[in-house]
């Protein structure tokens, strides 16, 4: 293991040129989950590069549109 998730969402973000940020990842991978509702267990399933408390990816943020619950 190299310590990073090989997430298909990350692959997609790279392919589409979407900036690799936590916010962008969450909007794609967990569109129905509010960032405030993410507990430890779910947080641990987020690729390390996007986990809170770790260095976030660089680059501009894109506007995120969340689905209404």
């Amino acid at each position: 293991m190299d310590g990073k998730n090989n997430s298909p969402f990350v692959d997609y973000m790279k392919k589409q040129g979407i900036p690799l940020t936590r916010e962008n990842y969450l909007s794609l991978a967990m569109p129905d989950v509010s960032p405030d509702e993410i507990g430890a267990e779910l947080e641990s399933e987020i690729p390390e590069q996007f986990q809170a408390g770790r260095d976030e990816g660089s680059g501009p943020k894109v506007k995120v549109v969340r689905k209404e619950k």
Binding site: M1, D2, G3, K4, N5, N6, S7, P8, D36, I38, G39, A40, E41, L42, E43, S44, E45, P47, E48, Q51, A52, G53, R54
Partner: protein
């Protein structure tokens, strides 16, 4: 899984570096594996402590190696073991605890985890836990750690707090 063509390298890469998903995969894929994989989730951690933990509890964050949304003062993010150890958080301590408990009773660690998982969810139902109904359990353990009573007394007190909880009735605790 389907797209991987059963290539374990591809499957492994998608499971990430945490312990839970990988153990869960192993438990399903090969439940009797001699490696004694154990899936440790929030409930398994709560059962190990006999406390009404939620996914925001500090101990749960420690186990998963994550950073809580409300960081206590002096909080320092965990450093992963990386390829040197493969260890993330305190999860492996719980895995080992479940293995030892299972060995004492002659069952598989994953069976011990399943029993404890069901039991603790019955003892601390989510709908009551979220209202803080069982918060007294924290004081019970705090009192134990300051020497006011022994661990068995603490367990009995928590059983009382949970109303003789379904856990103890159904599972013979």
């Amino acid at each position: 899984m389907i797209e991987s063509g059963n290539d374990i390298q591809k499957i492994s890469a998608h499971m990430g570096s945490g312990h839970k998903i990988r153990n869960f995969y192993n438990n399903i894929q090969n439940p009797n594996d001699p490696a004694e994989d154990v899936t440790v989730d929030t409930h398994a951690i709560a059962a190990a402590h006999l406390k009404p933990f939620s996914s925001s509890s500090l101990e749960v964050n420690h186990a998963f190696g994550t950073t809580p949304a409300k960081k206590p003062a002096n909080w320092k993010p965990m450093k992963t073991g990386g390829t040197a150890t493969g260890i993330n958080g305190t999860d492996p301590l719980y895995e080992e605890a479940y293995r030892r408990a299972a060995k004492e009773r002659g069952i598989l660690p994953r069976q011990m985890q399943s029993i404890a998982w069901e039991g603790v969810r019955a003892m601390f139902p989510a709908k009551d836990k979220s209202k803080g109904k069982f918060n007294e359990a924290y004081k019970v353990w705090s009192d134990h750690h300051t020497g006011l009573h022994d661990a068995d007394t603490a367990r009995k007190k928590i059983d009382e707090i949970t109303g003789g909880g379904a856990g103890s009735k159904n599972y013979g605790w």
